[in-house]
């Protein structure tokens, strides 16, 4: 059965993360809720941001709004902070997309207190398991910088969070 919000979800599937365009906002697991009202003319989307200071958050909210505006008369985009987003909410398929994009996906499940952010299982370029951390912080809040000691290529690791 097609649910009443299927149309909105289809639109959201096509809204990419501005920093990691192979992932949609649905892949990232930041869409908490979609609700239609006014006989399908109005839609409200609830998003949970990934990191507190992530500059992509405001871009994502704008992109989600403008994507939905072509299908609905009225669009409301809300943020909900609690419970906090975790990489456990990423779709399983997102992991393969990340790897294909050259980013090692997060490993292990999130636990509190946060004692470690996991380690990449293998190099996303050559598949070697011989990898080492270069820096705990990377080009965006969600990533750390690692290096493969087999092929010598540096690569991003999407931190478990």
């Amino acid at each position: 059965m097609v649910t009443s919000t299927a149309r909105a979800w289809d639109v959201l599937e096509a809204v990419p993360d501005p920093e990691i365009p192979v992932l949609s906002v649905v892949d990232l697991g930041i869409v908490r809720d979609v609700a239609e009202s006014a006989g399908g003319r109005r839609v409200m989307v609830t998003l949970t941001p990934t990191y507190s200071g992530c500059p992509a958050t405001e871009v994502i909210m704008r992109d989600v709004r403008s994507a939905l505006e072509s299908s609905y008369d009225e669009v409301e985009v809300r943020t909900q902070l609690s419970p906090a987003w975790t990489t456990d909410w990423m779709r399983p398929a997102a992991r393969e997309k990340l790897r294909g994009f050259g980013i090692a996906p997060p490993e292990g499940r999130h636990t509190l207190p946060l004692l470690d952010v996991g380690a990449p299982a293998s190099c996303p370029q050559c598949g070697s398991r011989e990898v080492e951390e270069i820096a705990a912080f990377g080009s965006t809040p969600c990533k750390a910088l690692w290096r493969c000691t087999s092929c010598r290529e540096p690569f991003d690791y999407f931190k478990r969070h």
Partner: protein, 224 residues
Amino acid sequence: MVSPTSEPLLPVADGCLVLSHRLSEWMSKAPTMEEDIALGNIALDLLGQARGLLQVLGDEDQLAYFRDAQDFRNPLICELPGGDFAFTILRLFFVSCWLAEVWPALAAGTESGEVRGVAEKAVKENAYHLRHAGSWVPRLGDGTEESHRRMTDALDALWPYRGEIASDAWYDRVLPALREASLPEPDRDAWTQRSSADGWHTEHLGYLLADMQSLARAHPGAKW
């Protein structure tokens, strides 16, 4: 401007905002590219945490850009001028040890869902900052003669500013780390600066705010 019920939140919000600005001053000047990125990421997290709380307390832009120094309630340690890398790291470590107590308490014991949301996220981010700063403390303290001297100087400079952020749990984190870093054990009971609770600050906050607020004050309501 800020209601009395907001009192416990304001030192946290302002502390994160002011320290974020201090860390951002390192951009393009850190000792290595990786450290530049690390300090930038941490500054960004702190800015996001500050914004989350300021949004709960009122209009975030009004609170960040249009309050004068005497209305800020950040712990004084956050506003001290940058100093060298040793000072930067030790201060970040001290403040992260404070926030390691503050955020879980706010995440567990707050009525406001918004505050809880900010805190739940910040718990994880701060753990990461603490790990980063904490991994530098022994490397610098127990590193070369030069790095040891600089860390000792940083400790001397920062210790009198611990009063607002220290607790038993804070000392339990800090003292073993200093010991592991071969730094001189400071006296828990030594004199400490007063807090900013009554609006008194060091002379440094005014200059920091002049830098941080000048654009917003020159062009009120400007949008990117």
